[in-house]
Symmetry: C2
Subunit: 124 residues, 2 copies
């Protein structure tokens, strides 16, 4: 537990690198879409159906950002009606393990956090 020197990975450059990446990942939909695409390639409407509650606008925006960052590939098939397939790139796939680590922590600790929060509110 005394290995706090490893946190220099986080604090490193004042947190700039970590934050540059977090900014792209920690919005409302990104991780959900990445996790959904881990099944394999999907088209726009499939994603819209499988990610509950997302609007067309946010799905489009999030996919564009993922494409920009090279985490998701977008292939347009020249057909009528149009067919567009979205899939994770290798870089996108590599995000899954750390994302799972965080999700695991979230699931293990959400009860404790929620309880602590309610106790705090009650105190105030």
């Amino acid at each position: 537990m005394a290995e706090y020197e490893h946190t220099c990975m986080i604090r490193g450059d004042g947190g700039r690198t970590l934050r540059a990446v977090l900014d792209r990942i920690c919005n409302k939909w990104t991780l959900l879409i990445v996790a959904t695409l881990d099944q394999g390639s999907l088209r726009f409407t499939d994603l819209h159906d499988q990610v509950p509650g997302i609007s067309q606008r946010m799905l489009t925006l999030t996919l564009r950002n993922l494409e920009r960052d090279g985490l998701v590939s977008r292939t347009v098939h020249a057909e009528v009606p149009p067919r567009v397939e979205y899939a994770l790139t290798p870089t996108g796939k590599s995000l899954i393990p750390p994302a799972l680590a965080l999700a695991g922590w979230a699931i293990e600790n959400v009860a404790h956090i929620e309880a602590s929060r309610e106790a705090y509110e009650a105190r105030t």
Copy 2:
């Protein structure tokens, strides 16, 4: 790589659990403060000095949220001038490993992401 069924940890309840936690963690300062406190307990001014660029307001807000969620403890010493010590709780400490996993991914892939982003902009 065919173990995509594990991403149900992320998608599980439509991502609600993960997002409930991400919302508390993925703001501008939380992970930076947690990483800084991994060294041991620090007082307000020390934190303000060690986290470059943070304002008093955001330091206060972030610490209050961390205290609410039970990730950071706040102990006031009845002295003059006042002395307040902030430290990670066990729950707070347990966030470090998954945070490091994400930071590691960020550091490994930031160059590729940045390059992809520039290529994308150039294309447009």
